[in-house]
């Protein structure tokens, strides 16, 4: 059967019957039409189901048709190809929806007033109010967390790469890995247990401590990577000039890898800026502006989103504020990401290993 299309006198082993190039598109169109038809006939409402039925028809149809014409191996190959495409397209739906909804609903109330006013006495079900207090809280908490987490992270990485040998170094390496996997809520609970012991009330800096714990392992990992990329010749050249080791690290090693280290820190900041759970436990939330992170409850952007959603009992005004705050948060995180990646590309170490 595989020789069906061959017109030579003798059977060919090279030619195999193959479907024309447009076949996948035709099958896709056919299964989409059939999927919609079946769904309409069966009175299914959700477009998700329509799509799923069409996708299943597409895969089955591809296999059936290809197996008949091209043989089983080719059919399997085609099914794998179509499954991979379907997986990609299916995964695209929620992710596109997420981005689209956040932007389209976020811009509704996002304006200068929204960014420069707090919730104050605005009731959750009423329109109005803003996220100024949450932005202040987020900036202070994340800023303090960075001031604690980034230096410790970078110094630990320096220890591991430049000095670390023996059991202490391998213990640190191991526990950095372990720390990477700590759920954010557990870091929050740890600080909470300290606050319970010392009978403290929620305040912004407590949140910073939990965020710093989450940030450290990320900074250690990325800094380690960057320091390892610095060629040993540079260190040797400096040491050979009689420069002490600590000055070699400060003046030669760090400047060489500063781009990558900055990128790593910014990505870590982007990650902790979106954390809600520890802030919920430790900072508690506050509709008023509190500029002092060391005393009294504060707000933060992710926490604000959560509270607008959960405490508003379905008021549309609160949902609008939640989306607008989400858009602000995503914009902040994405800008950090893009700038960080820009720096990484711009400052990429030229010397490969």
């Amino acid at each position: 059967m595989s020789n069906a299309l061959v017109t030579d006198k003798r059977p060919s082993t090279l030619r195999a019957a193959s479907l024309p190039k447009w076949t996948p598109y035709a099958i896709a169109a056919g299964s989409l039409a059939l999927g919609i038809g079946i769904s309409a006939a069966a009175d299914l409402h959700s477009k998700i189901q329509w799509g799923l039925i069409a996708a299943i028809l597409f895969v089955l149809g591809t296999y059936g048709i290809a197996a008949r014409v091209e043989g089983r191996r080719q059919a399997k190959d085609r099914v794998a190809t179509s499954l991979v495409w379907v997986a990609f397209l299916v995964a695209l739906i929620p992710l596109v929806s997420l981005v689209w909804v956040t932007i389209s609903r976020g811009v509704k109330v996002l304006n200068v007033y929204f960014l420069t006013h707090s919730m104050g006495v605005v009731a959750d079900s009423e329109p109005g109010g803003g996220i100024y207090h949450a932005i202040i809280g987020s900036l202070e908490q994340v800023g303090l967390a960075t001031l604690i987490g980034a230096p410790i992270g970078v110094m630990t990485a320096i220890y591991l790469v430049e000095y670390g040998r023996g059991r202490l170094a391998s213990a640190v390496t191991f526990f950095v890995d372990v720390m990477t996997g700590i759920p954010s809520i557990v870091a929050g609970l740890f600080i909470l247990s300290l606050m319970l012991i010392f009978k403290m009330q929620p305040f912004g800096f407590a949140g910073s401590l939990a965020l710093a714990i989450l940030m450290m392992p990320v900074v250690v990992r990325s800094t380690e990577e960057m320091l390892k990329l610095v060629p040993n010749e540079l260190r040797e050249a400096s040491l050979a000039l009689g420069v002490p080791k600590w000055r070699t690290i400060l003046k030669v090693v760090l400047p060489t890898s500063i781009g990558g280290i900055t990128t790593g820190i910014m990505l870590a900041i982007a990650r902790i800026a979106g954390e809600t759970a520890p802030v919920l436990l430790l900072v508690f939330g506050n509709p008023f502006i509190n500029n002092n992170p060391f005393e009294g409850a504060q707000a933060s952007l992710p926490l604000y989103i959560y509270q607008q959603y959960s405490q508003s009992a379905g008021a549309n005004a609160a949902y609008d504020r939640a989306w607008a705050a989400s858009l602000t948060l995503i914009a902040f995180v994405m800008i950090l990401n893009l700038v960080a990646r820009g720096i990484a590309r711009w400052k990429a170490p030229k010397a490969g290993r």
């Binding site: 959700s46 190959d77 000095y163 040998r165 526990f175 959560y306 959960s310």
Partner: protein, 335 residues
């Protein structure tokens, strides 16, 4: 990021003298500057260890306070009543919910993530795969609370149809029967978690698939393998342990995810066979939801449940690392 870590670990920079030899200079550090700098950097490393130890110690201490007062059995009790005297609470429902939602998430996310990773490395047009990989990178950075908001306001209404459909055709299995309540049960949570961990699993798997040596793929091609057969013969076997560790990373995320679950799930302190009816909560979600009303005693109980979550994630991450370590051993053999 973890994968790049692992490759550099596998092949440390070799130029002579190695970093290790240069490190030897630290021993003879007698200059004050050197000593201070070494002290600072070593101190940071030690501080990290102290923090880890403190987390374990303080969580255990507060947890033991709570468990000693617990009138129920901490492991098997269904309810979570910490404000009673005596309090009665247990993690049975939470453990159930955490495991079930994570299993659903893994079952959905891993195959799709592997497929997308293959799509990006072996199927997509090259012009397309670069930008898509970049976007997926960015999606991994979207804060979980935004996924939670999207899940609660957009995904949940869309689940109504799927729930009804599953109930109609698969309701007889018991797993997919539905009493018609709001579709805020384990299945929805599992799907949302799957969407959330998809980018991270995809990214790590893509890195692994990209590292498959070209010569292994060409070996399969030269034997007359189709594209799928190349993937099956050389790409998947090479990437298997990498995919497993990527999945473990995703699992770690899913187990500890708090806000997305807290916004989407309507918890119930009961275990249901059906994934569509309210049954179960998760450790993290329960902490976030119960925290507001908890007294000091209640907070200790929540800390106790958090300790269990901590141990579970440690085990999962440990398993992932063990797999990575094993992979190092034999993948170097022929590289």
């Amino acid at each position: 990021m973890d994968i790049s870590t692992q490759t550099t670990d596998a092949s440390p920079p070799t130029p002579e003298p190695s970093v290790a030899q240069l490190k030897g200079n630290a021993r003879g550090a007698t200059r004050p500057g050197d000593r201070i700098f070494l002290g600072l950097s070593r101190g940071s490393g030690i501080l990290l260890l102290v923090i880890m130890a403190a987390i374990a110690v303080f969580l255990t201490y507060r947890a033991s306070l709570a468990i000693s007062k617990d009138h129920g059995n901490f492991l098997t009790t269904f309810e979570w009543n910490t404000n009673l005297t005596p309090p009665s609470f247990g993690i049975a429902v939470l453990a159930f919910g955490t495991v079930v939602s994570s299993i659903i998430a893994m079952a959905l996310a891993v195959p799709v993530a592997v497929a997308i990773a293959l799509f990006l490395t072996h199927y997509a047009p090259r012009k397309l795969s670069g930008p898509i990989a970049y976007v997926i990178d960015l999606l991994a950075a979207v804060p979980s609370i935004v996924y939670g908001l999207w899940g609660a306001l957009i995904l949940v209404p869309h689940m109504q149809g799927l729930y009804g459909w599953l109930n109609d055709y698969l309701g007889w299995t018991g797993i997919f029967s539905w009493d018609g309540g709001a579709p805020r049960a384990m299945l929805t949570v599992g799907i949302l978690l799957a969407i959330m961990i998809l980018p991270i699993i995809t990214n790590v798997s893509r890195e692994v698939f990209r590292q498959v040596p070209r010569m292994h793929e060409e070996a399969a091609l030269a034997l007359g393998a189709t594209r799928w057969e190349v993937v099956r013969m050389s790409v998947l076997p090479f990437g298997r342990s990498g995919v497993i560790s990527a999945s473990m990373l995703g699992l770690g995320r899913a187990l500890g995810e708090t806000m997305a679950v807290a916004t989407v799930l309507s918890p119930s302190y009961d275990i249901q066979a059906s994934l569509l009816d309210p049954g179960g909560g998760t450790f993290a979600q329960n902490i976030a939801s119960k925290f507001g009303e908890a007294t000091e005693q209640g907070r200790d109980a929540l800390i106790a449940s958090g300790l269990v979550l901590f141990v579970i994630t440690l085990l999962v991450n440990g398993a992932a690392r063990a797999i990575i370590a094993r992979r190092k051993e034999y993948s170097g053999a022929n590289a």
